[in-house]
Structure formats: structure tokens, C-alpha cells
């Protein structure tokens, strides 16, 4: 059972000589990859802060407190870039976790009906709130509440004999997703043109003019959820072996599933409540990272977090500059870039990694 230490050292050095360190995730590689992704994220973020319908001189924005650059940067540009980063990070990381949960790379908050429920809640709050004269802050709150309610309903329906059944969860989610889509269309048909425009905001997603309170709330819930997911990162690896094998390796499968589902729902609910439905990010970012860097969730989750943030900032930069001063919906941009790229990756066939 226990070999003498000398023999183990010998084995360890042999392992290094075999190049085995290249065939699995090491802590050094984790740090290196996250470092590179952080640098990329910072470059994208600074670029996005400078460019837009109006160019902002970043030096003057900080030095001249009375100038226009300062005003635009802090009132519009920075909140927008931050919000894009937070939402992208949250959607990508929770997408990766949901894929581990259902053991299927096609899962995402949208597909599981979480975003659809949130958007429906927002739209109803928008219409009813306007009639009753409720403050506008009620809309994100209702979106968040509706996303969680939809999640609870999906969860209850997907529990078979006390266990969360991945395949049933996927099916129930898809059904809920189209149900919410239909409900939104019906509401859409009954309201005037002005309201239809606001509804479109929730359906296509936008980071226009977020408040600092919204940013702080989304960041707080996102951080909390991400920490909870990271605590289960290795469990997610083991889940991919199947429920029985994971259980036999010491994972409390049912508890881990519940935790992942709860926290991803909170994260996605928070994202939808401030930005509307933004599809494909939760699908494509984890997928690309898995292809490029491997499937270990200890790397996949934080890499999706950083990559999702960078991707979303870039998509939003495109959305607000291509036809400036008018804007494209950022959700349309992500789907437009994401779709073909996703197909390309799927058709490429092999799951060949970049370093083996």
C-alpha cells in the first residue's frame, strides 16, 4: 500500500520525465492560463472603454474631473462595460456548470427556461408597473423573482423519485423555454408600439445605462454563485463519469446537483434581471474553452468566467459601434457571432486539444 518515500519521489520524477504533466491540469498551468485570460480581458475592457459612438480620452477622463470625457466615462461607458463583463462572466460560468449538471454540452440558462421566465417576469412588471405607476426598480426585481420561480417549477418537474434526473431536466427546460417564449409573444400582441420596444429590450438583451445598484447586485450575486460553483468543481469532473461512478468516488450526487442548479439559477436570474436574454454565451464560451484547454472544471469554470466577460464586452462594443450612433441588440450580436462559430467547431469533429 504505502511505498517508501524514496520510491515515490522516483515515480514522481519519472512522471515528469514522461511528459505526464502535459496530460492533466496542474496548478501552474491553471495560474498561467488564468493570467493570460486576465490580461486579454483587461485589454478588451480598456479598448471598450475608449471606443464608442463618442471617443473617450481615458487619460483626460481621469485627470479632468469637469470635462466631458470624465462625464461620459463614469456615467455611461464604465458602467456599461462593467455590466457586460459581469453578465458575460456569469452566463458563461453558469453555462459550464449546467453542462456538468446534465452531463450534456448543450445545456444553458436559456435552454433550461431560466432566462425565459426572467424575461416574462420583467415584461409583465413593465406593463403592470407602468399602469400602476410603480418605480422602475421593480422590473429587475420581478425578472429575478420570475426566473427563480420558473427554475423551481422546472426543478420540481424534473425530480423523479427524489432525484434530479438530468435528461428530464433538459426536456422540461426546453418545454418551459418555448412556453415562456409563447407567453411573451401573446403579451407582445396586446400592447402598444411603445411598450413593444421595451419588450424587445428584454428579448434581445442590452447593457444600456445600468445603474450602479444594478451593477453591484449582479456582481454580488455572481461572486457568491461562482464561489459556490468552484467549491464543487472537482465534483463536476466526477459527475461526467456517471451518477453511480461519481457516488462510488465519494460524491453526494443529489446534493451536488441541487447546489449547482440553485446557484446557477440565482446567477442567471441576476444576469437576466439587468440585461434581458442574451443567448449563446453560456453555450459557446464553455465549449470553446473545453476544446482549447480541456474539460477539468477547476480550470473551465474560472476560464469561462474571464472568457465570457471578455467575449461579452467585445460583443457589446460591436453592438454599439457598427451602426453608431444607433445600436444593435447585443443578444443578436452574440447569436450572430456564436452560431456559425459553434457550427464550425462541431463540424471540425475532433476534440483535439491545443497542447497534446
Amino acid at each position: 500500500m504505502t511505498r517508501p518515500a524514496a520510491s515515490l519521489d522516483h515515480f514522481a520524477s519519472e512522471a515528469a520525465a514522461d511528459g505526464l504533466h502535459r496530460a492533466h491540469l496542474t496548478f501552474a498551468r491553471l495560474l498561467a492560463v488564468l493570467g493570460i485570460l486576465t490580461v486579454i480581458l483587461l485589454i478588451v475592457a480598456v479598448t471598450a472603454c475608449a471606443f464608442g459612438s463618442v471617443h473617450v480620452d481615458l487619460v483626460r477622463a481621469f485627470s479632468d474631473r469637469a470635462g466631458a470625457d470624465h462625464a461620459i466615462f463614469f456615467a455611461a461607458r464604465l458602467p456599461r462595460v462593467l455590466m457586460a463583463a459581469i453578465v458575460g462572466a456569469v452566463l458563461a460560468a453558469s453555462g459550464a456548470a449546467l453542462q456538468a449538471l446534465v452531463r450534456n454540452p448543450l445545456a444553458e440558462g436559456g435552454i433550461l427556461g431560466i432566462s425565459g421566465g426572467g424575461a416574462f417576469g420583467a415584461i409583465v412588471a413593465l406593463i403592470v408597473g407602468a399602469r400602476l405607476g410603480a418605480p422602475e426598480g421593480i422590473v429587475p426585481l420581478c425578472a429575478f423573482g420570475a426566473a427563480l420561480l420558473s427554475t423551481v417549477a422546472v426543478y420540481r418537474l424534473a425530480v423523479v423519485e427524489g432525484r434530479l434526473e438530468p435528461f428530464t431536466l433538459l426536456l422540461v427546460g426546453v418545454i418551459f423555454n418555448s412556453f415562456w417564449g409563447a407567453a411573451i409573444m401573446i403579451v407582445n400582441a396586446t400592447v402598444n408600439f411603445y411598450v413593444v420596444h421595451s419588450i424587445l429590450f428584454w428579448l434581445m438583451g442590452s447593457f444600456e445605462a445600468p445603474t450602479w445598484r444594478e451593477i453591484a447586485t449582479a456582481a454580488g450575486l455572481g461572486t457568491l454563485g461562482f464561489a459556490a460553483l468552484m467549491a464543487h468543481a472537482r465534483d463536476m469532473n466526477l459527475l461526467s463519469l456517471g451518477d453511480e461512478a461519481a457516488g462510488e468516488l465519494g460524491v453526494d450526487v443529489d446534493r451536488v446537483r441541487r447546489a449547482i442548479f440553485l446557484w446557477t439559477s440565482i446567477m442567471i436570474g441576476a444576469a437576466v434581471s439587468v440585461s434581458g436574454i442574451i443567448s449563446f454565451v453560456g453555450l459557446i464560451v464553455p465549449h470553446v474553452i473545453r476544446l482549447a484547454l480541456g474539460a477539468d472544471h477547476r480550470l473551465l469554470l474560472p476560464a469561462a468566467l474571464l472568457g465570457g466577460a471578455a467575449f461579452m464586452i467585445a460583443a457589446d462594443l460591436l453592438a454599439r459601434t457598427i451602426i453608431a450612433p444607433a445600436e444593435l441588440p447585443v443578444g443578436a450580436i452574440t447569436a450572430l457571432c456564436g452560431g456559425p462559430f459553434f457550427v464550425y467547431l462541431l463540424r471540425r469533429g475532433s476534440c483535439g486539444s491545443l497542447w497534446s
Binding site: 515515490l8 512522471a15 511528459g19 492533466h24 467549491a231 456517471g242 465519494g250
Partner: protein, 274 residues
């Protein structure tokens, strides 16, 4: 049953179990000593896999007791159990592109704290398991790209990496060719001898059971028909009763080992149909 029965690694008494109220196992007892290889044989649906799942703690018995290392199975916390018992199941799903080494390292999970990374020792244990199963050259390959037989060996390597005291294997040699079947059993026998590992395996292959097992438990319809040394259990009379087909039990003329052959088909293939 044997000398090791005084101090068994695993002892289960009068187990009954089933699914949805349908009884699958009745009053089955089994034990395995340290260093012993026990085979569970019987026809399809006899309850072999169910018995193994009971011993692994994957499903709970209706009644009966299971003791591991002298302590009731139910007393073990999940991860503590995984440090003692390794299970090689029939299914081996791989949903995501994990490498062979990553998969084998997952066997170290019950030994690792929540946020810690695999230590050089964990890597050394995984490496030794890979080497033992002849998988070192495949360490960086994706499990999804491997053949069925190679995947099976990966799962067995993962079980070895757990450094268990007891190994439970459900049809460990299904899908393997003759060479790899012999290799797997050679490895299991060696682990029994060198590490005093207790092995319980369900087997369809009666000749493998005859060759490699210290003791055999013969099941039919969820009940034990016979239990003991291969020569006592794998008799023509027992097998005819259990499998409901004619068998020939004899000795391999080359090695003298016990062997079992189907005897129901006496026709000749070369004869053309009338």
C-alpha cells in the same frame, strides 16, 4: 467457508433487495478475505449486479447486514467508503473530453481535500496504475477516442488509483480480448497477493471463474445455489440446474485446469440444411 472467513475484509449476511417492490435477491450471504478473489456467477438476471451494488453501498438492502473491515457499511461516510472500496461498473460514461490520466487521477478524489490539487504522490500512484494496465502511452489521449477494451482498462486503473482495500468489479473482462482478459486477471491476482486486496467480481465467463477465483458463488433467480471452491461449485449438475442447458465440465488436457464447455449443440456446422 475458508480460513480468511474469521477475519474477512467484507462480510454480508442474508441480504434481500429489489427494485420497486420486486424482489431480486433473497437471503444471499457472501464474504471475502484479504487477498482473496471471489467470483459471483449465474445466468442473466440472477441478481449478480444487484448484489455488487449492495456491497458497494450504491443501493440499500431490504434487510441483512454488510460489514466492511469489521464495521457496518452504513457507518461509513461517503468519502471514507470510497477510500476503502473501489467499484468497476459496467457503464463508463465520458460526457466531456477528459484525458486518460485525468480520468485515472479522479480515483484520487476521495483522498483529496476540497480545493487541493493532486500532489506528486497522487500523480505517482496514478502513474503506477497506468503502467500496470499498460496505458502509459495513452495517458494524454482522450478517453472518448479509445476502444472499448482500452476504456475498460482505464476504469480499472482508476480503481487502482483509489488504493482500495476491497475491489468490486462488475464483469471486468466484458469486451476484452483473450490477451487482455488474462492480463486483467493476472493483475487482480497480483494485487490480491501483494496488497492483500479483497476482490469480488461478477463473471459471465465460467472458465475465468474456474481459473482465477479462490471461491465461487453461484446464483439463480436471486438465491445462492452453491458456494465454495470452484471444483465444488462448478459441477455439471449445478450448472445444468442453474443455466438450464447441457454443459461439459472437465479438465484442460494441457494444464489440468477446470474447464466448462457448452454441450447442448451436438450437430455439425458443415452439414447443409436438408
Amino acid at each position: 467457508m475458508s480460513a480468511s472467513a474469521d477475519n474477512p475484509a467484507l462480510r454480508a449476511n442474508r441480504l434481500a433487495a429489489g427494485y420497486d417492490g420486486r424482489q431480486v435477491l433473497r437471503e444471499v450471504s457472501i464474504d471475502a478475505g484479504f487477498g482473496e478473489l471471489v467470483a459471483i456467477v449465474g445466468p442473466n438476471g440472477a441478481g449478480k449486479s444487484t448484489l455488487l451494488k449492495l456491497l458497494a453501498g450504491t443501493i440499500a438492502p431490504w434487510h441483512g447486514s454488510i460489514d466492511l473491515l469489521g464495521r457496518p457499511l452504513a457507518d461509513y461516510e461517503r468519502r471514507a467508503l470510497a477510500r476503502i472500496v473501489a467499484v468497476v461498473g459496467q457503464e463508463n460514461a465520458t460526457a466531456f473530453p477528459f484525458t486518460v490520466l485525468e480520468t485515472v487521477l479522479m480515483g484520487r478524489a476521495p483522498h483529496l481535500a476540497r480545493f487541493s490539487f493532486e500532489s506528486p504522490r497522487d500523480l505517482a500512484v496514478a502513474r503506477a496504475a497506468l503502467e500496470r494496465l499498460g496505458l502509459l502511452g495513452l495517458a494524454g489521449r482522450y478517453v472518448q477516442e479509445l476502444s472499448g477494451g482500452e476504456r475498460k482498462r482505464v476504469v480499472i486503473a482508476r480503481a487502482l488509483a483509489q488504493e482500495p482495500k476491497i475491489a468490486l468489479l462488475d464483469e471486468p473482462t466484458a469486451f476484452l480480448d483473450m490477451k487482455h482478459v488474462a492480463e486483467i486477471f493476472a493483475i487482480l491476482r497480483e494485487l490480491c497477493a501483494a496488497r492483500r486486496l479483497a476482490v469480488i467480481a461478477t463473471l459471465h465467463d465460467l472458465n475465468a471463474a474456474a481459473l482465477y477465483a479462490d471461491r465461487v458463488l453461484l446464483l439463480k433467480d436471486g438465491a445462492a445455489v452453491a458456494s465454495g471452491a470452484p471444483e465444488q461449485v462448478l459441477t455439471a449438475a449445478n450448472l445444468r440446474a442453474v443455466y438450464d442447458t447441457e454443459v461439459y465440465v472437465g479438465r484442460n488436457p494441457a494444464t489440468g485446469a477446470l474447464m466448462v464447455l457448452p454441450a447442448a449443440f451436438s450437430g455439425s456446422r458443415s452439414r447443409s440444411p436438408a
